[in-house]
């Protein structure tokens, strides 16, 4: 079951897509991350759960872990989940545009989670929680 909350504003015409709101949690398939690579993300889903695994070994993502295009819904929350004890994925601390203000680099082993929240004004991802 994949639920979406769609907003049909006043004056909506069926010629364009309604805006997808962040009420639903979308769970994605495990994504393989390359060294200095980015993790995929949706610009229109407010709550995303994204399992990750290092591509061929332990990797550290780029500082802009979700890329530098921007445009996420303000307040978008993404939970990253590690899926392997060897092929880990490290999210680096980076106080630069589109970077993550995490409480120290976060290395995601199997079952480790890191939840980040986007602030459009500050242009940073903030650590909300981790389970390790």
């Amino acid at each position: 079951m994949t639920l979406k909350v769609l907003n049909f504003p006043d004056g909506f015409t069926s010629a364009t897509a309604p805006v997808e709101l962040g009420g639903a949690i979308i769970v994605y398939d495990v994504e393989s991350i390359i060294v200095s690579g980015s993790v995929s993300s949706s610009l229109t889903i407010g709550f995303q759960q994204r399992p990750v695994i290092g591509d061929g070994g332990a990797v550290t993502t780029a500082n802009d872990v979700f890329g530098s295009v921007g445009g996420w819904l303000n307040g978008t929350q993404i939970t990253l989940i590690g899926t392997d004890d060897t092929n880990t994925v490290t999210i680096p601390f980076s106080n630069t545009a589109y970077g993550c203000l995490v409480n120290g680099n976060a290395t995601l082993e199997n079952g480790y989670t890191l939840t980040l929240q986007w602030n459009e004004t500050i242009e940073r991802w903030f650590e909300i929680s981790r389970n390790f």
Binding site: T2, L3, V5, N7, T13, S14, P18, G23, S42
Partner: protein
Amino acid sequence: MKLLVDTLTSEHEQIFSLTNDTRYILEEIKTYLYMHNAPAGTFTVTLYRNDVELASKSFTSADIKASLNTDNNYIHVFYPLDFGFTPLSKGTYKIKLTSSGYTFSESAYLAWVKEFESIYQEFSSAIPLVTDYPYSFRLIMNTNRELT
């Protein structure tokens, strides 16, 4: 207006009950659908009683658009399907939405709208989980036609 929709990936089904000791003649089932960018494929609504198929109707995205006489691709609608005077009686039924030649993608999909409480179910004081909200549909009965 906001709608909670469940995207069609394989199939959706909704159980409902008719509780009165009355014989019904079903004319139409109107499932409340959201069509996102006119996905390809054929969709089928099938009515079951005790897992026995009573009747089914198929449609496409083009049919939805034609029913509204529009070329637009983002439509939410109680889409009427003619079930040709299917006789029903007190009992429990199931409506299933399936597809063929269709694959879900974020850019084009069909979804079934959910509602807080079905008008065909007994009211409950318990607040259901969002995931348990029933799929929205309407049954159009013909109350003037006699069974033959």
